[in-house]
Symmetry: C2
Subunit: 282 residues, 2 copies
């Protein structure tokens, strides 16, 4: 495994592989890698095969944080991340500096102006502008044939798919299922911030999602009722605050009043000072 720290060095590596026609698969991350990320890299490997190249980027993108304090709190664990990537058979870890990603007088932004307006886009103004811009930059740097995102960030995956379609980016987007801890909590780099007590409280998120799934199976289709199941369950727990609970179609991310198969139930919840997101597809 090679750790690459600059854009020119990455370009040299990539052009070598492209010349020989080796397929490139790409997993963009902000580091603090957990088993969910590792599953993405394993899927990347399966797609391109042994001859292909698996690239993982590790970059805590300042422009997608709407709160400076959140950005500053975000952990950095490059050495441990590299060890995990090496063990997982990743070929290249690309970890550029913020300075090189956002040079002086940086002034170009990619805005998705439909799917990114709701859910996390409404709660975190500017978040998706930062996400879309950095992902497009990374795609242009890595020039992957395939890029893999996690279903935990469901809205992000939908927004990226739209950007790729609209801008004709020559990359295939794969969305992999959410990986959960044994007790059901969706894996997230932010989980490390939870106190032991909060860690227990956070289980209510997945419990609420399971209750919704069960209710949907019992043929409850009223969206208000299904959302209320989540709110009621979380209301029981001290220190949890719902940011949003929404039931939406996945084509346009518009609220539905009557649930149907394939709809997305998504939520964001504050557990103490940590904001967690999770979702299920019905």
């Amino acid at each position: 495994m090679k750790l690459v720290r600059t854009i020119p060095a990455l370009r040299r590596e990539i052009s070598r592989y492209r010349r020989t026609g080796r397929p490139i698969s790409f997993v963009p991350t902000m580091g603090v890698l957990h088993a969910g990320h590792i599953e993405l890299t394993q899927r990347a490997r399966r797609i391109v095969g042994r001859r292909g190249i698996v690239v993982v980027s590790i970059f805590v993108n300042p422009t997608q944080f709407n709160q400076k304090s959140d950005f500053k709190k975000y952990p950095h664990t490059l050495a441990a991340d590299c060890a995990k990537c090496r063990a997982a058979g990743v070929d290249i870890v690309f970890a550029p500096s913020a300075r090189s990603m956002y040079p002086e007088n940086f002034s170009t932004w990619v805005n998705e102006e439909s799917l990114s307006l709701t859910l996390c886009g409404a709660s975190r103004p500017g978040h998706f502008r930062g996400v879309c811009t950095i992902v497009l930059k990374l795609f242009n740097q890595v020039q992957p044939d395939v890029a893999i995102f996690g279903q935990k960030d469901a809205q992000q995956a939908l927004v990226i798919r739209r950007v790729v379609r609209d801008l004709d980016i020559p990359v295939k987007i794969i969305v992999a299922p959410t990986v959960r801890e044994r007790d059901g909590l969706a894996m997230s780099s932010r989980n490390a911030r939870l106190s032991p007590q909060e860690r227990i409280h956070a289980l209510a998120i997945n419990e609420a999602l399971s209750q919704v799934r069960a209710a949907f199976r019992r043929n409850i289709r009223n969206a208000s009722k299904l959302k209320k199941i989540v709110r009621s369950h979380l209301a029981k727990i001290h220190g949890m605050k719902v940011d949003y609970v929404e039931l939406m179609d996945t084509a346009m991310l518009r609220s539905v009043t009557k649930a149907s198969r394939g709809n997305l139930l998504a939520m964001a919840v504050w557990v103490g000072g940590t904001r967690l997101i999770d979702n299920i597809k019905l």
Copy 2:
């Protein structure tokens, strides 16, 4: 020469050339090709050599017109354009439909938020958002090694260079000198709209630029004086209305008060109902 009308057909052509490592040079146009465009294609050929591929796109991009009437008036001359491209040794003319370039629910835009705010960006709100978005789309479709733009659209060239730098697009941008008619008028597809009388009046634009150049050689450095030379000269002519005359540095497109070598003197002028632009680098 091959005329390609759809994005999938273009992708098939491009992937064939990329597999064999043949370099691709690209000249994006809105058609109504004139000798200025043809010079761009000849430069494209010189850059990639006989083994390389020269691609010309012809697409009247609706989203870069801030006035619907201007878009509707814009001429279409595909058959004549193709004949000129064939004669010039172009390999591929790519002329997609507006429907395929902007599919249903299109919602992603590329915004350059610094250099595009002045000059034509101030006069034509949304213009550069349309330009940046379509150029990025075309780059992703054509995947050129080199793209060639004309200096007549000086601001466009600077904005595109900035977008390419900021988004790390793997393409080299070349800016070719403005090509002029024998009498000095900068070539433009819009010239065809001028009445015989307006065509004569339009000569004042290049005359004014020549006077500025001469004054700069006589060591006149006061920006107001230099701009006044343009305004005074054009004021003499009936039916001409200055949109803007500006003297700017080319790094940041900010107005200067004292002219220095390399500065851009740029103007936009209404000649009757036709808006023409021109510029010189001092």
